[in-house]
């Protein structure tokens, strides 16, 4: 989807600089990326920007945003993002969280349940799966971990290259370090989040790839039970990184769910 005009800027919130890419017009929509950071541009972001005012912040400590040494939890990122939205005067955005970003989105929803229009969680971390465990970054090699996010390895090759450059590996290491700093124990979930989601009455869409090797699909059951107004969509022949593996399918699910108004 060529022709989308992205602008990049740095927004300060809670004393932290956040790199934000923004494009499109319409209803505000915040996309929150994975624990592997994000590439600057992705077809999924472009597809959403054709319909919405899309903001893609790089999480503090990930990709282009510097690391705040004081952060100790994923909830800290959610609070900083609430501050960022307030700095930008963006009210009631739709929140689209991808994997680890889904955990942040769920935290943001729980802390201000009236200040969002829709919640979309895609293979979200943040809740302990009733069956299986979230794949452990700490014992998985860089390439093995990144590849585990994809059902079809040819798609991985297309997104990152079959042999991603050292810059990318180094960035994955930086992202890992930040994930360890804020999500080490319990690993990649919160014990209190399921209880706090009970007030989130906005429409919620829980999306899972049917071959998610990073977050077991059983976690979707707990999200559906915790969110009062949620439904599930399963994407076939797809891994954890639905946004990168099937961008058009996911964009269609999101736009259908959120609508244009």
């Amino acid at each position: 989807m060529a022709g989308v005009n992205w602008t990049d800027s740095t927004i300060e919130a809670a004393g932290t600089n956040i790199h934000v890419s923004r494009a499109g017009r319409g209803r505000p929509l915040l996309v929150l990326h994975h624990e592997t950071g994000t590439l600057d541009r992705l077809p999924f972001y472009d597809a959403l920007a054709a319909q919405y005012d899309v903001l893609v912040p790089h999480h503090p400590g990930y990709s282009r945003s510097p690391r705040p040494d004081w952060m100790r939890s994923v909830r800290d990122i959610a609070v900083v993002y609430r501050g960022m939205l307030s700095e930008l005067k963006v009210a009631k955005p739709a929140l689209v969280g991808l994997g680890f970003g889904g955990w942040i989105a769920a935290e943001m929803a729980s802390m201000a349940p009236a200040d969002l229009s829709h919640l979309v969680l895609v293979g979200a971390m943040g809740i302990k799966p009733p069956q299986g465990d979230i794949l452990d970054l700490a014992i998985t090699g860089y390439m093995d971990y990144a590849r585990a996010g994809f059902h079809d390895q040819k798609v991985f090759d297309k997104v990152y290259g079959a042999e991603p450059p050292i810059d990318q590996l180094e960035m994955w290491d930086i992202c890992r370090e930040m994930s360890f700093r804020i999500a080490w124990k319990p690993y990649m979930y919160s014990q209190t989040l399921p209880h706090l989601l009970g007030s989130v009455r906005v429409p919620a869409l829980v999306v899972w790839g049917d071959d998610d090797k990073v977050v077991p699909q059983s976690a979707s059951e707990r999200y559906l039970a915790a969110l009062p107004n949620a439904k599930l969509e399963v994407v076939k022949a797809c891994g954890h990184c639905v946004d990168m593996e099937q961008p058009e399918a996911l964009a269609k699910l999101v736009t259908t769910f959120i609508g244009r108004e």
Binding site: L137, A138, I139, T140, G141, Y142, M143, I166, L169, E170, W172, D173, I174, R176, E177, F180, R181, W184, K185
Partner: protein, 414 residues
């Protein structure tokens, strides 16, 4: 010169092929391969080795700790230290060391060490380490805060040993509202602290800033010299002159009454596929945030298989030629050690005598020859070279107990 015996306490009684098939045996090699009957036999063998080491007059017995791996059976160094405190009478109990970041409660560690010091009647040397990456993963400790936890736990242990209680400690990683251990060290101001390491610059600098001896672990002569260069530079900046009393060295040395047998047994130093710790998965040995940020790029290149191990891979023969492994009869061994002493001038020397599947009989022979023939000769050489240990030179336990500090240009400017 302070002369010590060391063994990794290998858990060598497991199906070797299973380990080779598995590959990286540190951390995830299934413990279904651990046979506790063999474990019991080996632990008692190691006690026998230590008792003989004491009998033949070593100055110290060096202990260490690792987790989840066959290369080392000591899951808690304090247990063996406590055993030796009760069973031996003369040898120093040199722990190199307790992995501080692994401690969730450093006050408890301070208590255990104080008990060991009292029971041993003041023979404890309490070294501290960061612990390898696998150790953090084996104990669920966050590798990203490894260095911060190391330094903070050290401060808390030393406070618990030296500051009258009760007091309160509010740190970043440790918070203790009541610190008042009813077990304090016998040695004053506190037991000597030595810091072992392989190469990480930050640790060398930190040790020199504390005036704690740094123990280089099996580094090459060239690497060792570079370590002392850095240590001495930081020492000068801190107001003192570094010397042999600040320098320790651990080296793999197998001694036998037969040259060929010595070399054959020395091959066991590479029983873990040539690595200290067994073949290590780089992502486990250096989890993100554990290593120095300056080495990040080189590390990811290695970890992803696009560059060779920055530590290098050398053959047994090369390691023998480089004097990183020494093997032979006492005469051969002393001549080679002399060269190391001349070139690197340590005041503390640990001989890692036995490893892998060396038989108990050969291990005991090695220890006997070490104590009765090699160490007496090394003591003479050390005298000629004026290599004094921290005990012989009565070195301060920590920089703050120094009485000889010179005001440095840096301090004067502040």
């Amino acid at each position: 010169m302070h002369l010590m015996y060391f063994t990794e306490q290998p858990m060598s009684a497991y199906p070797e092929q299973a380990g080779r098939d598995f590959g990286a045996t540190a951390l995830m090699f299934p413990n279904t391969n651990f046979d506790p009957k063999e474990g019991s036999r080996l632990y008692n063998n190691y006690i026998e080795q230590y008792m003989l080491a004491e009998e033949v007059g070593v100055d110290g017995i060096m202990l260490n700790e690792h987790h989840n791996a066959p290369f080392c059976m000591q899951a808690k160094a304090n247990i063996f230290a406590a055993i030796l405190a009760g069973m031996t009478e003369k040898a120093k109990i040199v722990m190199l060391g307790n992995p501080l970041p692994l401690a969730e409660n450093p006050v408890r560690l301070a208590e255990e060490l104080a008990m060991i010091d009292m029971i041993s009647k003041g023979r404890l040397v309490s070294g501290f380490v960061r612990g390898g990456g696998q150790e953090q993963l084996a104990t669920g400790v966050n590798p990203a805060f490894n260095r911060e936890r190391f330094e903070e736990a050290h401060d808390l242990v030393v406070k618990a040993w030296t500051r009258p209680g009760p007091f309160r400690f509010e740190g970043t990683h440790y918070q203790h509202r009541v610190v008042n251990p009813w077990a304090v060290p016998l040695q004053k101001p506190y037991p000597r602290v030595w810091i072992p390491g392989v190469i990480s610059k930050e640790t060398i600098v930190w040790a020199a800033q504390q005036r704690y001896p740094y123990i280089a672990l099996n580094t090459s002569i060239e690497q060792t010299k570079k370590i002392w260069e850095l240590y001495d530079q930081v020492a000068l900046q801190s107001g003192y002159v570094g010397g042999p009393e600040n320098r320790g060295y651990l080296i793999q040395v197998h001694i036998s009454d037969n040259e060929e047998k010595a070399i054959e047994n020395a091959r066991q130093f590479r029983w873990m596929q040539g690595e200290f710790t067994g073949l290590a998965h780089p992502v486990w040995s250096t989890p993100s945030g554990y290593g120095s940020p300056t080495a990040r790029r080189a590390f990811v290149e290695f970890a992803s298989g696009r560059a060779k191990n920055p530590r290098g891979e050398t053959s047994f023969e090369q390691q023998m030629a480089d004097l990183r492994i020494i093997a032979g009869t006492p005469k051969t061994v002393v001549a080679k050690l002399k060269r190391i002493l001349e070139e690197t001038r340590p005041g503390i020397l640990a001989l890692w005598g036995n490893d892998g599947r060396v038989s108990q009989e050969d291990s005991l022979t090695c220890i006997r020859l070490m104590g009765q023939e090699v160490f007496p000769a090394i003591r003479e050489i050390a005298k000629e070279l004026d290599l004094k240990s921290p005990f012989e030179s009565n070195a301060p336990v920590h920089l703050k107990y120094s009485t000889d500090l010179k005001q440095t240009a840096q301090a004067a400017a502040e």
